[in-house]
Assembly symmetry: C2
Homo-oligomer: 215 residues x 2
DNA sequence: CACTTGTCCTGTCATGCCGTCAGCTTACCG
DNA sequence: CGGTAAGCTGACGGCATGACAGGACAAGTG
């Protein structure tokens, strides 16, 4: 499916070329963590990678193009978040554990990729369909699983009929993403990391099942 | 408290100057809604305002400086969000109404200021303390009220002791902000605006009281 | 009315990044 | 060794940036 890696002018990239390309991506990734997105310049990325700006433009149309590439790579990993929910039960004590593990896995993923996720979030919010699609790819896996879980509970009569599974699941996923993005912010509200997680898990459990967890 | 408006080089701005300054802010505000933050250039803002780039630099150190100004103005309005919660009850039917009105007011505020809020969110996530502070100013009003409400219910024994009011309130507020920022995104999950609100209100009510609302 | 004062705006300029091209170097293959 | 395609860069026109000095303008003063 994935065609060969190509340069902007159509040539096929070989071993060396791919290495350079990857090095540029890595350096860009680093720069995104250390300086505002708005201030990331092609020339800085190139310098950091020990090459020239012209080389950058051989592999990417612009900074945004390279960012999209990084985001795609991350989204591919992010699809693995589905595992946090697949085949899990929401009943009784195991339900509480499911909620906890979901929160844990989600926050960890966000922490590991926070720089690129910030940019993706912005792009999506600004209405860029490409970023939007990537954001969906990551969130969809979790969202669909959650939505299914709620719908199933609903069909068993354990959840009110006027609940919209997709809306609740989407809101919960948005909450997880937002809290993850502003993890540091909570400290100024006097909330520590360790305290945050169980309370988030509680909210997730409440949202999915409508009931307090039994621990 | 608010000192006189000053130009970058220290002069005091008069009537005409303030008008120009405000016009630049308005034009910048518009540009933020229509093009990516990264691509907003001083020269475009100046052109749109019918003036020259040099004039812009007389009133603001750079684009970010002007954005901060807009954000401050918005934050001042945003402090009014407290009213959505002041003196409201979370018991019985009025509790359900409180939740609904909070969601309504919050989404409306976000919809009205989405462009600038996106930038504030990004700045805060990137660790810029000035943006961070502004974001706090807006969210704090809601967060504190929510947190107090939970703490009060907790003191009456209506909410479990191991709930951390600040953590839950913060998470709920983050959820509202995130959903508001990506309102359009929900349509691709097959969720319409009208359906979204009651489900959000449900989650808020569940989070605050730990119980389903009685309608 | 001329003159002064202080505000307000712009023309211009040095600087630095952007994005492109021609052309050089390097690697591979027969 | 010669040919070919990949890989890289110096250099360049173009544009945004940010600083300054000086011109335009309004208001007050004699």
């Amino acid at each position: 499916m994935t065609g060969q890696v190509r340069t902007v002018d159509g040539r096929v990239a070989g071993r060396r070329g791919q290495a350079t390309r990857q090095k540029l991506l890595d350096c860009l990734s680093e720069m995104l963590s250390s300086s505002p997105y708005r201030d990331v310049k092609v020339i800085d990325v190139a310098r950091k990678a020990g090459t020239s700006p012209a080389t950058f433009y051989q592999y990417f149309p612009d900074v945004e193009g390279a960012v999209l590439e990084i985001a795609e790579q991350m989204a591919a990993e992010g699809a693995g978040l589905t595992e946090l929910l697949e085949g899990r039960s929401w009943a009784g004590k195991s339900g509480w554990q499911t909620a906890q593990e979901l929160v844990d896995g989600f926050l960890e993923f966000w922490r590991k990729n926070d720089a690129i996720l910030r940019v993706v979030d912005l792009g999506a919010a600004e209405g860029d369909k490409r970023f939007y699609k990537i954001r969906m790819k990551i969130l969809n896996s979790v969202n669909n699983s959650l939505s299914d879980a709620i719908a199933e509970l609903q069909s068993k009569g354990r959840v009110d009929k006027d609940v919209n599974p997709a809306a609740v699941a989407g809101s919960l996923v948005a909450m997880l993403a937002a809290v993850a993005a502003h993890q540091k912010g909570f400290s100024s509200w006097g909330v520590k990391q360790a305290e945050l997680k169980p309370n988030l898990a509680l909210l997730v459990h409440l949202g999915v099942t409508g009931k307090k967890p039994s621990r």
